[in-house]
Symmetry: C2
Subunit: 368 residues, 2 copies
Amino acid sequence: MVVKNKVQSVVVSWWRKNALLLSTSRTLNTFATGFDNRILKSPPLVSLDDFPDDVWTSSSTNFYEPLTYKLASDHTAKVIDGKQIAEEIISEVAVQVRSMKKTIDEVPGLAVILVGERKDSQIYVRNKMKACEDAGMRFSLTEFPESCTEDEVCDVIMSYNVDPSFHGILVQLPLPQHLNEEKILDLLKLEKDVDGFHPMNMGNLAMRGREPLFIPCTPKGCVELLIRSGVEIMGKKAVVIGRSNIVGLPASLLLQRHHATVSIVDASTPNPEEVTREADILVSAAGVPNLVRGSWLKPGAVVVDVGTHPVEDPCSEQGYRLLGDVCFEEALKVVSSITPVPGGVGPMTVAMLLYNTLESASRKYNIL
Amino acid sequence: MVVKNKVQSVVVSWWRKNALLLSTSRTLNTFATGFDNRILKSPPLVSLDDFPDDVWTSSSTNFYEPLTYKLASDHTAKVIDGKQIAEEIISEVAVQVRSMKKTIDEVPGLAVILVGERKDSQIYVRNKMKACEDAGMRFSLTEFPESCTEDEVCDVIMSYNVDPSFHGILVQLPLPQHLNEEKILDLLKLEKDVDGFHPMNMGNLAMRGREPLFIPCTPKGCVELLIRSGVEIMGKKAVVIGRSNIVGLPASLLLQRHHATVSIVDASTPNPEEVTREADILVSAAGVPNLVRGSWLKPGAVVVDVGTHPVEDPCSEQGYRLLGDVCFEEALKVVSSITPVPGGVGPMTVAMLLYNTLESASRKYNIL
């Protein structure tokens, strides 16, 4: 009990100190980059790195008493409304865009490059375009046929790299097999890599004491959803399913920066459900519809479902409906809150893309 | 049972395919960089990225039967002899250095920068110097007093960056508080960053499909020890204690590239022993002597102890002895194998530094 109190008090005092640091670092951040991220609730990452190393205890006493959730038989989880939160963020971005326009007669600009005719990619790009227009941003789409050459794509990137009216460049993934994704992504100017997929950005996201120029949009959206839903991340067991460069990996790194105890499960994990059942927070980006069953979940857990899988549905107007990685109906009976598919992480990804583009422009002009 | 067999056969066929890939990629590697990493058992990382995504199963059946170790009452763990393995590697490096000297009249060169008078840093640097000399490499040490300026350190790095006789540059950490570690490390030419601490290297280590120029020495040594001791990493639960940029973080990323299911525990984890008790492989880099007690360990686990803590000991000749993060005597009764302190990870770190420097020189001259 003594140890528990000690640890709790250290944690509390760390938070107090951190709250101070947050406000200081926000001031510094504003001073250094001219950008005050008032729109997001997510703090600058370096402000999280000050957790003292001396909290370790050599005692083997189990001083942690896990929360035991007693779910009522008619329990239904809270559904986290990603669409509404994303709309709030986009309208706040729009306010800042108008202010930028008024102050310096500039607006943030996003250039998107789309190769091939994938239906899902086309839908994603259309959503991004619409959101940019709603927020009053400049938007440019360059489309290439599946058969285009690497040089053609590279040339367009190079021209956007030096075009001062575009502050963000995004190559819609996946690219056709014959194009070298690594080479193409590495060509993006770091200051315009609003997707945050450059290895330099990923390294800075991973490393304590460093701040990436951009955090990849989907994981950033997941964490912002958690924060806005009042979910405490620090000290919680988080499990990330999937280890992709665009979601799983950066999500696990970001949750670590927020001091969660993170486990990463991938297709080579022989017993994924055993690991996920330990999760206070589960972020699933496996890419398999309904992979996560109710029995995979800890009662009272918070679930963020990144999966988006179209499955045929003759009853639906479009002829298909979207499923997530998580069996939604089963999960509702077990977890405390969950993001739906659609209307959960998807809209947040777009909102974060707009935010990153605004951040990039604000950094460039040293304003807001 | 059927599912189990299915998964096993997929894993087996993946390994077969991978073994082929390994040999192919080794050939490619030799062709592309002139460097054949015959010395290490660790495979190129990209060769590990081909694990198929379709191994996921939607079944919630628990098809995994964890190994249950029955330890005899007089059980004693195997002690992994890092000193001997490191000596083997260094002597293999020495052979390649001689061959390089003979073929092109060049030897790999390592430049070390040491700031201040920390006893431990001085010992580490001395060990590195001695190993370089033993392997026939060029070695240069630049020492600065604690009071030196950032510019002085930066100037030396800049001159080593362009000096063709040095293929590796290492800044001994930690630096005194008044020096900006981030700025200094970022100045290192990527091609000479044999410590692998540059965020670009870290990003490439983290990302599937990419290969860093250098893997940080200590985590690389840990994994090489596991491989040489016949420990299979894929599909195992690995826990890394500590999240430092130089050990914990890259160790967790490297183990993920080897398809372990990795959990990362840090000082903010409220119940570390609960997490570590699940580990088939435990890598401890907490920086707290005897933090990990016998009761923290799963019977039959493999433990890699990165901690090195001098504690006063009047009975010892030097007046002190070294302790690890792990209670060695207690662990011996529980685990299947463990690295000792000293004589475990420490010598491997030096061996990997020499290997990375040789790799750097070989890459430059496109030989061996």
